[in-house]
Amino acid sequence: MNENKPSASKRALNFLGNNAVPIMFIIIIAICIPIAGFSPTFLLNEIVTRLSRNAFLILSLLIPIMAGMGLNFGMTLGAMAAEIALILTSDWQIWGIPGIVLAMIMSIPISALLGLICGRILNAAKGREMITSYIISFFMNGVYQLVVLYMMGSIIPIVHTNIKLPRGYGVRASVDLTRIRKCLDNVWSINIAGVKVPLLTLLIIALMCLVIVWFRRTKLGQDMRAVGQDMDVARAAGIDVEGTRIISIVISTVLAGIGMVIYLQNMGDMATYSSHSQIGMFCIAALLVGGASVDRASIGNVFLGVILFHTMFILAPSAGAVIAGNEVIGEYFRVFVSYGVITVALVMYETKKRRAKAGMGAQLAAAQQEGDKR
């Protein structure tokens, strides 16, 4: 029947509807590039830097989405674990690659523990994972402050005064990571037409992508997809639904911790009390800009998202300065846009679900009319 096949125009419309956010970003960026007036080399350099800095963190979001738990705002927990690990390795004066590797290894048990707690709480709040994980990240931020502000230096030994607060305990607002700055990035990097490419970091990210691809083919990956789509059916088939969900959050938190170490070694400086607080929001915004939704995200979404979202970040202040004569306008705009993108993505997800439901009624009415013609 002809009616059942969508026409070309309808399909184009569907494509636009499904990819509205990335398309919108491409248009904005296309407008901003000439206004901001950056040289292509500068722009590419910035994009590559930010890609290597952020991609691993965003990859950590993919697995909970596969398990049907939505966007894991709880990745902040992994970031906190990484920060604690980095504070300690800095105090121990372990720098360079060994420092980075040690920080990664130390972050793993902390992340795993936090992820386990988070996963158990999320199991008690099925269907409300996103808001719950968001609030958990606030709660854990309090615990983190308790540890870093009061326990470090008093219970946990901190020796160096450039890390410790003058009062004798607690960590300063900023920890200097200059001596591990870009260690990973500089190990093996090449220069292509003026663009510095940190090959090792990119290789680690590529490896992670392969691991995710492989993971999807494992029994555990298959179970997670099943749990993500229908918990009751999965349970009836004998899959341990709760356990699988916890594992997905633990993996995500651990990866976020490792990702955060990569992120901070690139920055070379750590704001002890605020580095982690925005990271979840920006990673999620980037993933959504790349065309992901609450229940579907691919590796392609990660890379498209990082590139689009961060190109926007680079362009917005200068474009804002040119248009409104004020850099702050551009800064304001990019924060505003990232929250806006998350809101739009959440609303669109709900709308799609509702539309699918309403479609049933339309089918019934159509079937009735079909009957008339006969």
């Binding site: 494992t218 999965a234 004998g238 009735q368």
Partner: protein, 527 residues
């Protein structure tokens, strides 16, 4: 020898839910490769019996059962469906149990996927084995072949026509090597004619391979076509156990609906020959599990019209659709005026009222007092029980009038409560139902829909509810449409009874017709 013992034997099975006997002394035997057709009205106990056999936890949670289940002569006691599966029993449920985004193959082998070891799985455990896709395809293909109905293994469930989903489920059971007994709960309900035929062939095929099948359906012809023997249940009792060759559809229908008390229906009065008050044209309703398709119905002024039919055929969809609780289309006119659909408030403004079958969800404010429950809708809809103050600027609740009306209904319906201030949730089910009625009565409607008014309440309360409805109709001349799955109940107070089958009106008969006539209509176009 144990080989001589039948595959399945059920002896003196008894089961009660909270003192309510739902299965009484069921005895059943089933040999290898035998096909048994299980028929009965809704609530006859078929599902309970099958749940019991399949080891569903809800049976154990509600106090277990009496009697013995024997497999190959050995007594078994299943604690969960997994135990039943291990013993070789498979069940295809009425609701699909499939992962929508998976292919047929992935669903057939869900959680039983063939796997391959890898380095990671040696370190981190079996769950990191990779899936052996080739082997999966092969096993799924085998199961599909065993079933004898072809479906595409790599097709995603959400893209499948509904019949293929059903076949996927059957293939999943067949892919289990230990399978010896397959329970099919209304598998043909969602199938087209041709698909249903294919399924029947498939059942014959299974039977030849030595797999016994218990086949539950409302389509009696299918039962006669494919089954070796037929078991008829009614009100928790096994009525008949006969070889399929020795019976016929009219006979089975009679066993299904025939009650011990052969009531002659409502002989009190002739159906009134009054003009039409409500006319329903081409109504469709998208109520999950109770889909209504193209219903045309005329309701006469001052009558009690019954709507009956088997569960899932759409009888509940009719009032829910008209009252705007589920998406609906078509035209409904009351007194020549069209009622806008999908708009509950407009319906209430038209002096339509609805007593929902969903008492706790739609019917009552559980945490509020009886007074509130009775008066709230009338206050909302018709501004009754309100005193205007300051020239109508503020409306004040008229507590006294509310108490009076509540007291009146408490007395009239004999609602057992401590006071008009008691909370609705503290009442028993039967009394809650009476409050629902009082609430609808307080609206003083012209036209009343009552859906399953006696479901889950005891005999005494049932009689009172029926009496109250009858009185409302006779004394105030209010037109009532009553929806019930209990035919005898409808025959007691209704003037005419419409039977819904397959989402459509199968026929309308005076209540004085014999039960068998209604029974035939019920199964006439079951989907």
């Amino acid at each position: 020898m144990s080989n001589q013992a039948p595959l399945l034997e059920m002896k003196n099975i008894k089961k009660s839910f909270f003192g309510n006997q739902v299965l009484e002394d069921i005895n059943l035997t089933l040999g290898e490769g035998e096909v048994l057709g299980l028929v009965g009205e809704n609530g006859a106990g078929k599902s309970t019996l099958m749940k019991l056999l399949f080891g569903m936890t809800e049976i154990r949670d509600t106090g277990g059962y009496e009697g013995d289940v024997l497999i190959n002569g050995e007594k078994v006691s299943f604690n969960s469906p997994f135990d039943a599966l291990a013993a070789g029993i498979g069940m295809v449920h009425q609701e699909f149990s499939l992962i929508p985004g998976f292919t047929a193959t992935e669903n057939i082998l869900l959680n039983r996927e063939p796997q391959r070891k890898s380095v990671a799985s040696e370190i981190f455990g079996d769950r990191l084995d990779t899936l052996d896709r080739k082997e999966m395809d092969r096993r799924a293909e085998d199961a599909i072949e065993k079933m004898g109905v072809h479906i595409e293994g790599d097709m995603v469930i959400s893209d499948m026509p509904v019949g293929h989903k059903q076949f996927t489920e059957i293939a999943r059971e067949l892919s289990k090597e230990q399978l010896r007994l397959l329970i099919l709960d209304e598998p043909t309900a969602v199938l087209t004619e041709r698909e249903a035929q294919a399924l029947l062939d498939s059942i014959r095929g299974m039977s030849k391979r030595g797999i016994a099948v218990i086949f539950i359906t409302h389509r009696l012809q299918e039962i006669l076509d494919v089954c070796d023997k037929i078991v008829v249940m009614r009100d928790g009792v096994l009525i008949k156990d006969v070889p399929a060759a020795e019976t016929s559809i009219p006979e089975i229908t009679r066993w299904m609906v025939g009650r011990n008390v052969s009531g002659a229906g409502n002989a009190h009065r002739e159906p009134p020959e009054t003009p039409t008050v409500m006319s329903i044209r081409r109504l469709w309703v998208d109520m999950p599990g109770e889909t209504v398709r193209d219903v045309n119905l005329e309701v006469r002024q001052g009558e009690i019209l019954g709507i009956g039919g088997l569960a899932g055929q759409g009888k509940l969809g009719i009032p829910n659709g008209i009252m705007g609780l589920y998406p609906a289309g078509g035209t409904v006119t009351l007194d020549g005026q069209e009622i806008p659909l999908n708009n509950p408030r407009k319906c209430l403004d038209c002096q339509l009222a609805f007593v929902s079958e969903h008492r706790r969800g739609v019917g009552l404010l559980m945490d509020e007092s009886l007074e509130w429950n009775v008066a709230f809708p009338a206050m909302q809809v018709h501004d009754r029980f309100l005193k205007p103050l300051l020239g109508g600027l503020i409306k004040w609740r008229d507590e006294k009038a509310i108490r009076e009306v509540t007291d009146r209904y408490i007395e009239e319906l004999q609602i057992k409560c401590t006071s008009t201030k008691q909370k609705a949730k503290e009442l028993s089910g039967g009394n809650q139902q009476k409050v629902c009625l009082a609430k609808a009565f307080a609206l003083e409607p012209k036209f009343l829909f009552v859906s399953e008014p006696t479901r889950g309440i005891d005999v005494g309360a049932k009689a009172l509810v029926m009496e109250a409805l009858e009185k409302l109709n006779r004394e105030s001349g209010i037109t009532i449409v009553m929806i019930s799955s209990e035919l005898e109940e409808l025959r007691q107070i209704c003037d005419r009874i419409a039977i819904v089958s397959g989402g459509r009106i199968a026929g309308i008969l005076p209540a004085t017709e014999p039960s068998e006539a209604f029974g035939e209509l019920m199964v006439s176009s079951v989907v």
